[in-house]
Symmetry: C2
Subunit: 154 residues, 2 copies
DNA sequence: TGATAATGGTTGTATAGTACAACTATGAAA
DNA sequence: TTTCATAGTTGTACTATACAACCATTATCA
């Protein structure tokens, strides 16, 4: 049981707040490229990586509610980029796969994204890269764990 | 005009995607503490820091649309934590100030937040802290600039 | 085997956050 | 004084999100 001294590292606070901003930039402007949002691209990409992906896995990867997963996938199905296929072993489960069109769009957005990621990388000195990425990862994990351990405990 | 080679550093991609997750954790679960969301706390805190704050400044600080700023402030006014006051010099401008209750809640949430920030800091080795915070800042800025320079240019 | 529980998904409903466009009122400049 | 610019609010629309309720399945176990 820690004492409440009222001391907070403002650096941490403003980092978190800036993170919120940055993330907004990434997500908004709905169409990131090819009429696909950033999140939608992540989904396409996960499916592309695995070839076939269960909703459940996606739900885990995105770390959102099951229902949200469904709703994030919906537009991609509607646009004919992803298809739902009943699993062989378990007829409750649904497997996601890219359609022909899906593969095409994935590839296109990938090229698009190259510009974005390149622009990020271009702003981080080469010799610092590994260090920076590791540090960000460390910070992310710290925040993740800190928030799952309810912020207002004690 | 860069060539499109199709190469993307996946580290960067997953960092950005994890950032989205982390930010969600911070914001959701609407009431962070004392019935105030994280964003609302940031607003209270900015107003507290400055004593009096113009909507316009807040709009800049939060980096959201003017209308969004209005709507983020609204609930705080409704809850009687912030009051709107017409500026002396410019009767179009609105100055925000904490009410008595606002100062109280700000202080309470601040203590609450101490737990959260402390939990983050507790997961970052002491001697690495400065390094990590600087790195995160660098990364954030890189992403910010990269996304303002339209992702799909070239 | 048959009742009960667990699992995988979708739908209903509600909310925060967000933008853009249109508007109002005020102030500045010509 | 007319016209332009600024500060803020409101109308409207949409995404992302959660939680709860539900429907099929599949698994468990008595």
């Amino acid at each position: 049981m820690k004492k409440h001294t009222g001391y907070i590292n403002r650096d941490v606070l403003s980092l978190v707040s800036e993170l919120c901003q940055v993330v907004r930039f990434c997500r908004q402007d709905a169409t990131f490229c090819e009429d696909v949002t950033f999140t939608q691209f992540l989904i396409l990409d996960e499916v592309a990586k695995k070839g076939e992906l269960k909703m459940l896995d996606l739900h885990q990867i995105l770390a959102v509610d099951k229902s949200t997963t469904t709703r994030l996938v919906n537009p991609l199905v509607r646009q004919g980029l992803i298809e739902r296929k009943m699993s062989d072993h378990d007829s409750r489960a649904v497997n996601l796969r890219l359609t022909q069109a899906g593969r095409k769009v994935h590839k296109k957005v990938w090229l698009c994204l190259e510009g974005f990621v390149g622009a990020i990388e271009g702003r981080i000195p080469e010799r610092k890269k590994k260090l920076v990425y590791d540090a960000v990862k460390l910070f992310i994990d710290a925040v993740k764990k800190a928030s799952s351990a309810c912020p207002c405990s004690e």
